[in-house]
Amino acid sequence: MSAGMEIGAAVGKTIFIVMFALSLGGLLTWVERKQSAVMQDRIGANRASILGFRVWGLFHIIADAVKMFTKEDFVPDTPHKFIHALAPVLSIFFALLSFAVIPFGSSIVIAGQSIGLQVADVNVGILFIFAMMSVAVYGVVLAGWSSNNNYSLLGGVRATAQMISYEITFGLTLVGVVMIFQTLSLQEIVRAQGGVLFGFLPMWGVFLQPLGFLLFMTAAIAETKRIPFDIPEGESEIIGFFLEYSSMKFGMFMFADFIEQILVASMVTTFFFGGWQVPYLGDGGFVFPWGSTWDMNTWLVESLRVISFVLKVSFFCWLQMLIRWTLPRFRFDQLMNLGWKILLPLSLANALVTAIIVLWIGR
């Protein structure tokens, strides 16, 4: 592949995935309001209008952006003004960076060159995501520390405790997935999920690791710091690590939350719901378990796969919103109990049982 084309493909893929994350993140600010409204039998966001058009309150996204950018950017009296400004950037930067290894499609062929639909097909994709999500806690903790405010500091410390506690479960649940698919590359994991179990069931991670999926989902929601795990924010008690932030700096924290939510949805999709796989869709078209086939153009197959990925991610964003607006929040001791006494032993047991079964079958 020529160098120019390689760079062009990389830039194109990067723009696609960043635009996907950012636009879905923007949309989620609206979804959050509208969905809560629907669930609580309210009308919801419907006030922002342009020339009388309201389009179900979609203009609230623009209104929010305008508001965030034009508000006064108040910086508290703190000796760490640079770190104070850096923290939200770190928060959103590492959340966005994780998308580099998420595969959103198989591969397309342009001018005889095969281009994998993933920004960076690194063979340690899972480790990369974990690294990025661990570093993301620095944004939160630095925000709490540099704000020169006790409530902020408390929020930052709580965030650290929570994220470190759940990071362990988060990683251990994926050990099962890694053992089954024998790879750390996300693209390889998704490809391996294209098979069929018992002749009809798509070989998705959720069918191979049902307990792993539940544990992963729980730990992942805890990682996003949203209700029911919003201890670092604790709106009713300490307001949280972003207490001293205003204007778009605060907006970036909010946005990082939504981006992380999309990231979690992408990860759940990738590890447990077949990523871009469409059930029974092979490279040449559909091959149904009852024997019939449906041949398709390569481009059509690829488009279906990308659409499948986007739809799955959207569904899991919706599900996270549903959980967020259904459950009340945990107390801090309940959170720690759940993390260390329930999720951690269960994830260890899950890894152990998976290891035994994998060894048994591989023998």
Binding site: V38, M39, Q40, D41, L214, L322, I323, W325, T326, L327
Partner: protein
């Protein structure tokens, strides 16, 4: 004055079953409940019916209610029943604001309790304490 019953609150804590303890089925039920709002299976506005009434079925006497329960525990104080009542039998300007009770059953005010109230002209602005009445019984 009668005696005041002392209730040990801790005795009333319900013991959770195994399935309730592992949360997941309950969380699932909660999610189903909230998700139903998207499909329209839960139709938006809902009446909070706090009043149950039944009339005496003897045709020879003047119609009057046999049962007239107001469940304060369910009432959301929307005031629709007050507006709808043709006989002005339900009021919200009674000045009775004490609605404490020791049990869910105690929140249901039946026809006898309601009729036992002295008219406003007699009791003046003095509030009526239903909780006090229950304790005295």
């Amino acid at each position: 004055m009668g005696t005041v019953r002392v209730i040990n609150v801790s005795e009333r804590r319900r013991v959770l079953t195994f399935w309730e303890k592992i949360y997941l089925p309950e969380i699932w039920r909660g999610l189903v409940l909230t998700a139903r709002h998207f499909s329209g299976m839960s139709n938006g506005m809902r009446f909070v019916s706090a009043i149950a009434a039944e009339e005496v079925d003897d045709p020879n006497i003047e119609k009057r209610p046999k049962v007239f329960d107001i469940d304060i525990g369910r009432c959301v104080f929307c005031g629709f029943c007050v507006e709808a009542c043709p006989e002005d039998a339900i009021r919200m300007d009674t000045g009775i604001t004490e609605i404490g009770a020791l049990s869910r059953e105690g929140m249901v005010l039946n026809i006898d309790t309601l009729l036992s109230l002295p008219p406003k002209s007699e009791r003046g602005d003095k509030p009526v304490d239903f909780l006090q009445q229950q304790l005295v019984q």
